[in-house]
Every structure is written in C-alpha cells, then in structure tokens.
Amino acid sequence: METKTQNMIEMRHIVKDFNGFKANNDINLTLKRGEILALLGENGAGKSTLMQILSGLLAPTAGDILVRGKQVDIKDPNTAKALGIGMVHQHFMLAAAFSVWENIILGDEPVKRGKLDVKAAHQKVTALSKRYGLAINLDAKVADITVAQQQRVEILKVLYRGAEILIFDEPTAVLTPQEITEFIKILKGLAAEGKAVILITHKLDEIKAVADRVTVIRAGQGIATLRVSDTTDDQLAEMMVGRHVNMKLDKPAAKIGQEVLNVSDLKVNEARGNLAVKGLSFNLHQGEILGLAGIDGNGQDELVEALTGLRRVEAGQVTIKGKNMTNKKVREITELGVSHIPADRQKFGLILPWSVADNMALQSYYHEPFSKHGIINFNAIHEHARKLIKQFDVRTTDENLPAGELSGGNQQKAIIARELDRNSDLIIAFQPTRGLDVGAIEYIHQQLLAQRAAGKAILLISYELDEIMQLSDRIAVLHDGQISGEVRPADTTDRELGLLMTGAKKEGR
C-alpha cells in the first residue's frame, strides 16, 4: 500500500552533460506523496534541465530515476504523462478563443460514438474543480478570464490528465499578492489531496509560506535539501548564490531636490490604437525614486515608450527639467539627460551580435571622443568599454565578446553601465532586474540607490512588488492606464497595493 511517506520520485545522481558542460552534476532529489518541494536556484543553475529530464524532454547522461519506487526510463513526454507527471508552465499554453472546459479537455477529449461527449467532459471537469477547490466558470472564454484564472485552467488541465506529480514553473511571477495568497491555498489543497508538488521559484518568502522542504541547486550541483521550517531566508539566499547576500538594502533618507519629471494628463495609445495610458499625472524629483507598481499590461510599456520618445503622445504633457518634451525625438530626450533601462534588454537594450564595446557606445557613438566628423574612433570606444567593464563588474572575457554571449545578468549590467555612465538627471528603469538572480539583483539595486544618493531622479517601473517596496520613496500604482493610488512604502502593505493593482480600491490623490 502507498503511504504518505512513500517516495513518489527519487532522482539519484543525475548528470546531464552538454558536450563537456555539466548542466546537472550529481543531483539528488526526492519527492514524497502529499509534499510540496521547492526547487531553488539561480538562472542557469540547472533547475530547468533537471525538470526537463523529469518530464521526458531530455535524457540524463547518467543517474537513475525512480517513480513510486520503480526504476523508470522517461524517454519522452508521453511516458512522463503516463507516469502521472504533469507540468504547469510559466507561459500558459491555452487557446484563447476556446472556453475553459474546452481548453481543459483539449487533446484528451471523451468521445461517445465518434462524437465529443460534452456532458461527460463537463461532469468530469466540474468534479475536478470542486474536489481541488479550483473555482472557475467553466463556460467562460479563456480570453475573458484573468491571468490567475488561466493558471487554474492550466492546473485543471494537468489534473484532468491524471497527474499525481505536479511541477510548477515560477507560478507566481504573473500574480498579484491576493492571487498569490489564493494560489498558495490551492497548492496546499493539492498536497492535502495526496498530490506531490515541485515548485520552481526564486522567491524565498513563497518557499517559507508553502513548501515543506527545499532543494537548493547551484551551478549544476545539489547544494542541500532542507526542511523549510529549519532555515532562514538569509541562509537560503546564501546557499543559492554561494556567498553572503545582503537582503536588507541600506537606504538613507531621501534628499529631495527640484522637480525633474512632470507628467500631466498623459494619454497614449497602444499598437492597435486604443487608449492604453488614460490620463496619467505624476511628478518626480531629484534624489527620489518613484516606484510605479502594477500588473503587466496596465499601460507600463506605452508609458515608458511615450516618455522616451518611442511612442506618440496623444494628449497631455511630458515636462523634463522644465522643458516640454512631449513628442520629441528619442535623441533629443536622451541628449537632455535621460537614461533608459529598457524592460526587454535583448530587444531594445542591446544589439546582440555586436561586441560589448560597441553596445556600450550605442547611446554616445556620435559624440566626441567616440567619433569626430562622422568618423569613429574605435580606440576610444574600446577604452571606454574596458573602463565600464571594470567599474560595473561586467563578467566577460573582454570587450570584444558579442553581447549575446553574456549571461542575462551581465547583459543587464552592460546596459546599466552604459546608461548610468552618461550621468543623466532622469533614469527610467523598467523592470531592471527581470529574470536575474539574487546576486545581480542586489548589485543593480545598489547601483540605483547610489544614483539616488547622487541626486538623480529615478522612475522605477516594475512588476515585482518586493523591488518596488524596497527601493521606492513613493509608490504610484498603475491600473488600467491610470494611477489608482499613491502611497509611501512605510505606510502601506502588500495587501493594500494588491487591491490598488487590481483596481479593487481607488484613492483620491
């Protein structure tokens, strides 16, 4: 008989060798029935490789996998499915035009006499939804439901296919604090029903809230497996990064100076011509960090593009350093002293095939000493790059390496080096730490605080509430293209911010 303590999965001494590079180097992992195991590690630590091995996408070079005590060879994703292993991906794979129940049964439809058995399908899905407390309107179209609800559809999809072992990949990245609380309840419910859960995450507080045990992976090696109740955040962070990480930022009181940025009643369209920024007003001063919190897709992209000259302003005014910069060219805005750290570093921030040196001159190549009368001085560009690489600790073989070959964290460091080195008065930092590991995040946060101390005005737009809370002097919450409230980090809670982010609560300013 299966007992609660039975090992659902046992991965022993897993090695995955990619032509000499060991993505997994002797990793052990056990997962028990009814347990939530957190898998913690930096980007590139090997978590993904390990989970790909478990879900049959990659074959291990060496090592054994036991499912329910029996040695198995998971040669393809179908084998994984037959063994009851299911994965909820970070990017949902749903057909937007289909209803919820249709999405759930898609690919595994109950058939009666050659026809889709709608009734049976509906019943089965309803039963699952009740049993696991995943309340959702089964007939709603996926296009019309929230991201959190879409995630429930994904979970139901996996359960519908009979999964006993559920792998969640960074599941809370897209959720508001309230939704995260709900999601944690769902996870606990799944565990209580005897499912085994693996949770891939960066977020230490979530691990604390939900996981029973945590396996830490660093540079392809299993560092430790611990009971969560016996550990601290600091200890986990240190194990993950391999050195001590300063979790609390040293943030002196703000020395607020003159107004640098003033946005009044700004209206901006999105690509299809609908209003995305709907009458936004705020201001920002020297020595101040204004955090713009909000869920992805509430007008952040359009706002940043409008401020930096990449998108047309329909109405309203953008004033930078006392000058009306509404609908000015990108270069005019840059020249006035605006640095822009873009959210998508590979699309906007860098020309990936180009060298680090050329990328570091991307905003200033037309100035002396980098060029004179239209002729480029590559010695100056390289010298400048070597200086920045050293100053900002960009890990690269040298300045000639193509930017595309740097790790994500170092690509971001290269952009930050370029943008901060220009000594701009206004710094627009959009998701500056997206996808980065704890060490790189810490570094970038310190750089932003140093700029604040130097009297720069910083507009921080981020979907990470922790980042907003840690860095901001003021927080404005963006909902549906408008500011739903402005608060100070000391006077607010995650809960209040979450309500503002969903528009459930609005404040007069």
Binding site: N19, A23, S48, M51, D169, K347, Q363, I376
Partner: protein
C-alpha cells in the same frame, strides 16, 4: 572559442558551397559523358591561362564589384535591394549620354562628371524605393523589381525617342564615346593581351576601400549596421529608421549605378538596347551573398564569378561542351552559392549544440536553448 568558430564559419561556408557546386557540375557533365576534368581545365585555362583571359576576367569582375557593394550596403541595413539591374542601367545610359553629348570636354572634367552623374542616376532610382519604404512602409522587394522594368523600358524610350539621333548609330545602339569619355587605357589593354580591361578596375578598388571604410569606420556605417541588426535597439538609441533606410538605399543605388558606368564607359563604350534586366545586377546580388558582405569577400567572389563566365566560353570552344551544359554547370555552382544560407544553417546548428547552457539564449541559440530557459 565561439568567436573563432564564427570566423571559421564565415570562410568555410562559401568554400563548401563552391566546392559542392563544382562537384554537382562534374556529375552533370559525367551524366552526359563529358570529361569534367578536361572541362574544368579548359575553364580555368581560358579564364586565367593567358593575359587576354586574365584581362577579360578582371573586366568581367569590375561591374560586379560595384553592384555587389550596392547590394551589401542595403542588406547591412536590412533591405533586400534587387533593383540593382535597373540602378546599374540608369547609371550606364546616363554616363554614356553625357559623354556623347560633350565629346570635346577635357577628360579630367568629362570622366568625373559622367561617373558622378551615373552614380546619381542609380541613387535616384533606388531612392524612390527607399522613400516609399521609409514613409509608406512599401516592401522594397516589390518596388525594386517593378522599378527594374520601368527603367528597362524607360531607357529604351529615352534612347530611341529623346536622345538626339546624332548620338545614335541606329535605333538600337548609340555611337561610341570619345576618348575623353572612355575608361579605356591603352597600356592596360595592351598589357592584358588586347582585352577590354579598363580603368574601371581601379575605381572598383577605390570603391572597395570606400565601402570598407564606410561600414567599419564611420558613424553612418555604424547606424546602417545597427538598424539592420536590431531596429528596435537602434530606435531606442535615437537613430532615425527613416533616415537610415533612405541613406542606405541611396548609397546602394549609387554603387549599382557605378557598376553600370564602368560597364558603359569601360566595357562597351556605348549603350545599346537591353532586352532584359542587366546580368551585372543579378550577379552582383550573388557575389555579395557569396562574399559575405565584406570588401575582401566581394572581391574574391566577383573574380570567381567572372572565371565561371569567361571560363564558360572556353569550356565550349576548347572542351567542346555544348552551351546548354555549360549553363547548367555554371547554374549549379551559382545555385550552391545561393543556398549558402542553408549550408550556413547546418554549421550554426552544430555550433548551437556545442554552446554551454549557462548563457542566456542569444538569437542564434534561441531555437535550442529557448526550451531550457522556459522550464
């Protein structure tokens, strides 16, 4: 090490393509019972075996160098300029017309004027496509193809209806330009066995140097390359997409126009009825692709192309291979050069597998590494 393999790839891919092309050509000849060794022998001996052959090979390569540079500039900016034939034709007729109309101007004035006017004519033709692209988003592939036809027949109309009959021999050909408007150099032609080699080759070398300098040393080249590689990042960096589209198309057309100028003032010394878009335009495209868009690559590729063309004649006369088979063999070689891209893909797949996974996926690796990052 990736850097090095990328460099190796740049050399290996065209060499593999060329060798594969020659092999397929050999197989075709074997199928029809011709001796490929004898055929290729006669190809190389007629193209390179005597001074006249060498001179003709260089002469054949001269316009290709210009049109290939034209293609390479536009393609650096991300545009596929297949209007090279029309741009070259515009340059050709313009240079000839001005030279014929002013036969007595001193050489040091007439020749530069003809050359510059030819380049301008090419630039105007390509500029139309550039402006349409920049301001209306019109696909440049379609506009440049269509403009090729417009230029083809417009030139015919201009020569037959507008040009003074005094400048023409008959309805289908103009007179020969005077010595003051010609790129012909006696000593050069004599040295290369009375071939049609001309001063155009010196201009071609200057053009190659200028092209190299433009793309490698100037902010204009920097911007053109940036726009071509990542238009989002270049807009983010404040570069004007419109300006770069138009500048690169104008430069591209100017070089293509120069290709026509050397063909006119150098090779033929006149203009005559063209029944189809100029070969030097199409071949320039292949030369630029084979040469990988670099100055040295273009030079080597242009010479290779001319060896095929000039040597092809030798294959007929010396080895007795019918013209049709020669055409198939040359087409096979060009075909493999054209699928250069596919050969390149084979290499890149190997490289992607070799790359360790601790990096973020770059654009080339995204295919294989994307999955790993998402899980």
């Amino acid at each position: 090490m990736f850097n090095l393999s990328e460099k190796n790839k740049k050399f290996l891919v065209p060499i593999v393509s060329v060798v594969a092309g020659f092999l397929v050509g050999a197989i075709i000849m074997l199928v029809w019972s011709y001796n490929p060794i004898q055929a290729y022998g006669s190809m190389f001996s007629s193209a390179l075996g005597n001074m006249n052959g060498i001179g003709e090979t260089i002469r054949e390569a001269t316009p290709l160098i210009f049109t290939a540079i034209g293609f390479a500039i536009a393609s650096s900016a991300g545009f596929f300029n297949i209007g090279l034939p029309g741009q070259a034709q515009a340059g050709w007729i313009t240079a000839i017309w001005i030279a014929l109309a002013n036969p007595n101007l001193p050489k040091y004035i007439l020749l530069p004027v003809c050359i510059i006017a030819g380049a301008l004519a090419g630039a105007i033709v390509s500029g139309i496509a550039g402006v349409l692209r920049a301001y209306f988003g019109t696909n440049e592939v379609i506009t440049t193809i269509m403009i090729n036809y417009i230029v083809l027949y417009l030139c015919q109309y201009l020569m037959q209806q507008i040009m003074s009959p005094k400048l023409r021999v008959d309805m289908d050909a103009t007179k020969t330009v005077s010595a003051n408007g010609s790129l012909h150099l006696d000593w050069l032609a004599n040295f290369f066995g009375q071939s049609r080699i001309n001063a155009g080759i010196f201009l071609a070398f200057i053009a190659l140097l200028g092209f190299w300098w433009l793309m490698r040393k100037t902010t204009t080249g920097f911007e053109i390359k940036a726009v071509g590689l990542n238009q989002f990042a270049s807009q983010y960096a404040g570069m004007s997409a419109k300006k770069n589209i138009i500048v690169s198309m104008l430069l591209s057309g100017a070089f293509a126009g120069l290709g026509g100028v050397v063909q006119g003032l150098g090779t033929y010394q006149n203009y005559f009825t063209q029944t189809a878009s100029l070969d030097i335009g199409w071949d320039g495209l292949s030369v630029a692709l084979l040469g990988g868009g670099s100055a040295l690559g273009i030079l080597i590729a242009a010479l290779l192309f001319s060896i095929l063309k000039i040597g092809g004649l030798g294959m007929q006369t010396i080895a007795g291979i019918p013209y049709e088979i020669v055409s198939i063999v040359i087409a096979a070689i060009i075909f493999f050069i054209a699928i250069n891209y596919v050969v390149g893909l084979l290499f890149s797949r190997k490289a992607a597998v070799k790359t360790p996974t601790d990096h973020h996926p770059t654009s080339t690796q995204a295919v294989t590494l994307g999955k790993e990052e998402q899980l």
